[in-house]
């Protein structure tokens, strides 16, 4: 008996020592995110809602709303999302299905489709401005094939519609891949038998997408839309690169108030608006695309 006790004693002690280990391993991450994520966020609320002397006030929000650019930034941001997200969703789903179709040369398509994931919105804005500018590539092509007689001014600062379309094109180009990656991962989780069974019973391609793939992909669709909407409210450099001062968005106003006007209170108020809209959008997606627990795949 004593030998067993002698043997188990160090074992239990060792076990107890390991029980604390995961906490020690996550501690640095927790501390870091506390200091550089949670604390700045709390500070952000303080900046937006308190003045220099520490009194609670809504004056930063008042200044923000009274500024003419606020309405412009708000409407341009929302217009962009309305144009971009639906087109992007269909395109991303299509691209994910194409990658899933096991085409010949799938490796090359995969590489090309993934490229935009590593391209910044600033680089995208610069590349697309070379295309859309008056003496740019698009006018060269359109004139070359005889669609246009003379260069068309795509980046017309007086036309909101044109500016929305131009920025939307660049953003769709850049950020569709992000949605595609999430949807593709979801597609991989759908058992092949299900799709094949539907095929055996005579379901065509669109029927399979609608009745088999779509319902089973719903959790992935939810995540993809959720993250995409959250990021959509942060749209920034691509707008500045393409429109100059012709259009403005919420993040660009936050940047302007911080860097140019040196008023961190109004800048923080803008960031709170962006946060509020992101969370509201996330809530809407979660409610609209709710998946009942019993129908979840995993």
């Amino acid at each position: 008996m004593t030998t067993i006790a002698q043997e188990t004693a160090p074992l239990t002690r060792r076990k107890r020592r390991w029980e604390g280990l995961p906490y020690w391993l996550i501690l640095p991450t927790v501390v870091y995110l506390g200091l550089f994520f949670v604390w700045p966020m709390i500070q952000g609320f303080g900046l937006a809602l308190r003045d220099e002397s520490g009194h609670w006030t809504t004056s930063a929000f008042q200044t923000m709303v009274d500024d003419a650019a606020f309405g412009d930034a708000m409407s341009f941001t929302f217009l962009l999302i309305l144009v971009i997200v639906p087109i992007q969703f269909v395109l991303a789903l299509g691209m994910a299905l194409l990658l899933n179709a096991k085409l010949r040369g799938a490796g090359i398509f995969l590489y090309i489709f993934l490229l935009p994931l590593a391209i910044s919105d600033l680089a995208a804005g610069i590349a697309w401005s070379a295309i859309f500018t008056e003496r740019g590539y698009l006018n060269t092509v359109l004139e070359g094939v005889g669609v246009l007689e003379q260069p068309f001014i795509f980046l017309d600062p007086t036309s909101k519609t044109q500016l929305v379309m131009v920025v939307a094109a660049a953003e769709i180009w850049r950020s569709t891949t992000f949605m595609m990656v999430i949807l593709f991962a979801g597609l991989q989780g759908i058992p092949r038998d299900y799709v094949e069974a539907a095929e055996v019973f005579g379901a065509g391609f669109f029927q399979r997408v609608r009745h088999v793939i779509f319902p089973m992909l719903k959790p992935s669709i939810q995540v993809a839309l959720l993250l995409r909407l959250i990021f959509a409210f942060e749209v920034f450099a691509v707008v500045i690169a393409l429109t100059g001062s012709g259009a403005t968005v919420l993040a660009a106003e936050a940047y302007k108030w911080q860097a140019t006007n040196e008023n961190e209170h109004v800048a923080a108020a803008y960031s709170m608006v962006i946060l509020g809209l992101s969370l509201a959008a996330a809530a809407v997606v979660l409610v609209v695309l709710r998946t009942p627990r019993e129908r979840r795949l995993r």
């Binding site: 996550i26 991450t29 952000g44 299509g94 085409l103 391209i119 060269t140 959250i230 940047y255 946060l275």
Partner: protein, 272 residues
């Protein structure tokens, strides 16, 4: 009857895949030829869609411009700090999530996932105020600290997924053969996880290299490449912007090649 239909679908799929590829490649191709053509070719109209000659004139003038090489160096520096700190802090946490079931695991994981709902903009502005107070304003360290905060949650989630894919039994076997937990990790789990961790490092690099908003707000003179380009957008000539845009975009072409498989298997799953 069924066969020709399938074939038509196949053909359409190839057409669609080629069309999407062309859409994605066109701007990359155009900015590349613009960056490697002469000044005259950049400003001429109508443009040449196929370059007549490749010169380094535009590129050279860009690199010789004030502050450009410094900003490139700073960008690389910020990315390097971000990668090192992120992996040093994040890998152990990822390992803990993959190997141990402990009470805080689920809340911790949930907290990491939910950080994605909070845009970087929200933490960048208060950080700018704090940095002014503590003297970190306008430094590469300040930018790196913000980038770490932004990339750390995903690093932990991704490395957790990498370690979860490596059988724990291998480590246990090493421990029965005389390794302790640390050496089992170092000699068995880590080498197996290395490709995944490397992919994760590459992704951190891209995120940091591309990040504009925080970099532009946290620096004033000591700008990183994207911040430098953003600040110079309305004052710089077209040639400068195109060459800069190419520099910003070029790493993507290499990086995606190395991590394409991980992006689909790991990130797609982790992103949710």
């Amino acid at each position: 009857m069924a066969l020709p239909r399938i074939r038509i679908g196949r053909v359409l799929a190839y057409v669609a895949a080629l069309a999407v590829s062309a859409f994605i490649l066109a701007p990359i191709y155009l900015i590349t030829i613009a960056a490697f053509s002469s000044f005259d070719a950049v400003y001429e109209y109508p443009k040449n869609l196929v370059p007549r000659e490749a010169t380094t004139e535009t590129m050279r003038v860009f690199l010789d411009s004030d502050g450009v090489t410094d900003s490139l160096r700073r960008s690389a520096y910020v990315a390097a700090i971000t990668i090192i700190v992120c992996l040093a802090i994040g890998t152990p946490a990822g390992y803990a999530l993959a190997r141990f079931s402990f009470r805080a695991a689920n809340p911790f994981q949930l907290a990491l996932v939910s950080t994605r709902a909070f845009p970087l903009i929200i933490i960048a502005i208060p950080l700018a105020v704090t940095y002014l107070r503590v003297g970190l304003d306008d430094t590469v360290y300040g930018v790196a600290l913000a980038h770490i905060a932004f990339t750390l949650p995903l690093t932990v989630l991704v490395t957790a997924s990498v370690f979860a894919g490596i059988s724990y039994e291998l480590e246990e076997a090493a421990m029965t053969l005389g390794c302790n937990r640390l050496s089992a990790f170092r000699r068995v789990a880590l080498p197996l996880a290395l490709p995944g961790v490397a992919a994760s490092a590459i992704f951190i690099f891209v995120t940091s290299w591309n990040e504009v908003f925080a970099a532009a707000i946290l620096t004033f003179r000591n700008r990183t490449l994207p911040a430098q380009l953003l600040a110079a957008l309305d004052t710089s000539p077209l040639t400068y912007r195109l060459a800069g845009g190419f520099f910003l975009l070029a790493p993507a072409l290499v990086v995606i090649f190395f991590i394409r498989k991980y992006l689909l298997t790991t990130w797609g799953r982790v992103a949710r």
